[in-house]
C-alpha cells in the first residue's frame, strides 16, 4: 500500500511538471508570450550548449561550482556557529539571558540588508559574499537549535539523572539527539536562504557564478540566458535539499522508523 501511494505521488508530481512544460511550450510557441519568454527547446539547447561553450570566462558547470563553493563556505560557517550558539542558548539560561536580547534585535534584519555594510567592511571580494550568505542562514539555525535543545523532554532528563547519568552524558545522549531533528529543520531552511543569498551576492559583484549568469542575461536582454541560470539554480537547489534529506534520514533515522 505504501509503495502504491509512493508511486502515485511520483506519478502525480511528474504529470504536474510535464503540464508546466506543456503550458510553457504552447504559450511560448503560439501566443504573444513568445515576445518576452523563449520556448523550452531554446532554453534547454542553450543549457546543453553552455556545458561546453563558456558563458563569459567559464562553462555553466564551472559557474555552478563557484556558487556552490560560496554556499558551502558561508552555509558551513553559519551552521557551525549557529548550532553552537543555539544549543548553548537552549542549554544554559545564563547564555540565553546574555545572547537573546542581542539576537532578537539582529534576527529580523534580512540577510540581504547586510549587503551595503558588508561591501563597506570587506570590499567586493569573496569575504563579502561569504558574509552575506552567513547572515542569510544564521538566524534560522540558531533559532531551531535553541528550540530543539530547550524543548527536550524533561521526563527523559529526569529518568537519565536517576539512572546515574552525569551532565555530560545527559547532554550527549539525551539533549543532542532530541535537538537533532530541529537542527536539521533549521539547516534545511537555512540552506535555501543561503542559496538565495549567494545569487544576490553574485548579482552585485562577481565575474562568475549562477547569479552572475542571471545578471549577465538581464544586462544583455538575453532571456534565454536568464532562464539557463535559473534552471541550473533549481537543479542544484533541488539536489542539495535532497542530499540534506538523506543525511537527515540517516542521522535522525528514529523519526521515520515505524511510520
Amino acid at each position: 500500500m505504501k509503495t502504491k501511494e509512493k508511486s502515485l505521488a511520483v506519478g502525480i508530481g511528474a504529470a504536474a511538471i510535464l503540464s508546466v512544460f506543456l503550458i510553457w511550450y504552447f504559450a511560448a510557441s503560439y501566443t504573444k508570450v513568445s515576445l518576452f519568454f523563449p520556448t523550452p527547446q531554446k532554453v534547454f539547447s542553450r543549457f546543453a550548449e553552455s556545458l561546453s561553450v563558456p558563458i563569459g570566462k567559464y562553462t555553466l558547470q564551472m559557474h555552478v561550482l563557484y556558487s556552490l563553493k560560496r554556499v558551502f563556505v558561508g552555509f558551513g560557517l553559519s551552521s557551525v556557529t549557529g548550532i553552537i550558539l543555539g544549543v548553548a542558548m537552549g542549554y544554559s539560561k545564563t547564555v540565553n539571558a546574555i545572547v537573546r536580547p542581542i539576537f532578537n534585535i539582529i534576527r529580523p534584519i534580512p540577510g540581504l540588508a547586510w549587503i551595503p555594510l558588508a561591501i563597506l567592511w570587506f570590499g567586493i571580494g569573496e569575504t563579502t559574499k561569504y558574509f552575506i550568505i552567513f547572515m542569510g542562514g544564521f538566524a534560522n539555525i540558531v533559532l531551531n537549535s535553541y528550540d530543539g535543545t530547550n524543548k527536550v523532554d524533561q521526563t527523559l532528563v529526569g529518568a537519565a539523572e536517576l539512572l546515574g547519568a552525569n551532565k555530560f552524558q545527559i547532554f550527549v545522549n539525551i539533549i543532542l539527539p532530541s535537538a537533532t531533528p530541529y537542527i536539521f529543520a533549521g539547516l534545511q531552511v537555512s540552506l535555501s536562504t543561503s542559496w538565495m543569498a549567494v545569487l544576490a551576492a553574485e548579482m552585485i559583484s562577481s565575474y562568475e557564478g549562477a547569479g552572475w549568469i542571471i545578471n549577465m542575461g538581464m544586462n544583455t536582454g538575453d532571456t534565454v540566458l536568464i532562464l539557463v541560470g535559473m534552471i541550473s539554480i533549481a537543479i542544484i537547489g533541488f539536489a542539495l535539499a535532497n542530499i540534506m534529506r538523506v543525511l537527515e534520514r540517516r542521522l535522525c533515522s528514529w523519526t521515520v522508523r515505524g511510520k
Partner: protein, 248 residues
Amino acid sequence: MDEKRVKVEVKELTKAFGDLLVLDNISFDVYDGEFLCIVGPTGCGKTTFLNSLTKVYDINKGSIQVDGEDIHPKKHNLAYIFQEYSTMEWLNIQENVEFGLKAKKFPPDKLKERSDYVIRMVGLDKYRNYYPSQLSASMLQRVVIARAFAIEPDLLLMDEPYGQLDLTLKYKLEDELLKMWKEIRTTVLFITHNIEEAVYLSDRIIVLTNKPTHIKTEIINDLPRPRKVSDPEFVALRNQVTDLIKWW
C-alpha cells in the same frame, strides 16, 4: 515484617509550595525487598511525594534515608518509572536498556549479558534491535521496566506506570513486574490510585488522605501469591481498603 531490615526511612516529611501544604508530617519505613503500594486520591500529592524522595523538590522538613544515609540520586541506586514512556527514541531497545548500566559504569564485558537477561525477562528478546517508534505501548513500558531492573536499584519508584494502559495489558504487565521483582528482589515503592492494583501487587498498602496529605492508615497485605482478583480473600481486602478510603 519485624525481622525485616529497614531499607528506606521517611521521617516527618513535610513539603509546601508557598502557603499550600502538600505533604504533612509523613513518616513510614520501607523494608528491604518489600513491594509497598501507596494509594491516594488524584491530586493528593503522590507525585510530589516521589519527587521529594528523588530530590527533584527540596523538602521543608523531615528526612528520607536509604540504608541509614540521606537519600541522593547520585549516591544511591535509584530508578524511577513514570506514567509516560521514558524511552529514548534514538536508541534501540538493547541500547535503551543498557543506558543506565553504562551511566553507572557497569563492566563492559558483562553489559550485554546483563541487558540480555532483563530483555529476556520482559519477553522482548526478538525486539532488541527495534526502535521505540516500532513498538506498542505495552512493549515500551516493558523496556522502561527492563531498564530500571537492569541496574538492580536499591529502590524502584513507580508513579502510576500503568495508568495509560487498557485492562488486559495492565494485568499482563503487572504479572511481569511481579516476576521481575521476585527474581531481582529490589525494593519497590509503587504509587497508584487503583485499589485493585495495589491489593494485587503489594506486600503492604499505605493510604494517603487528601491535601494536606498525611497517612490515613497502613494495611499489611499477606495474601498468598499468585493472587486472583476473584478470590474471596482478595475481594474482602479490596473492599476493606475501599471502605477505608471511600470518603477521601
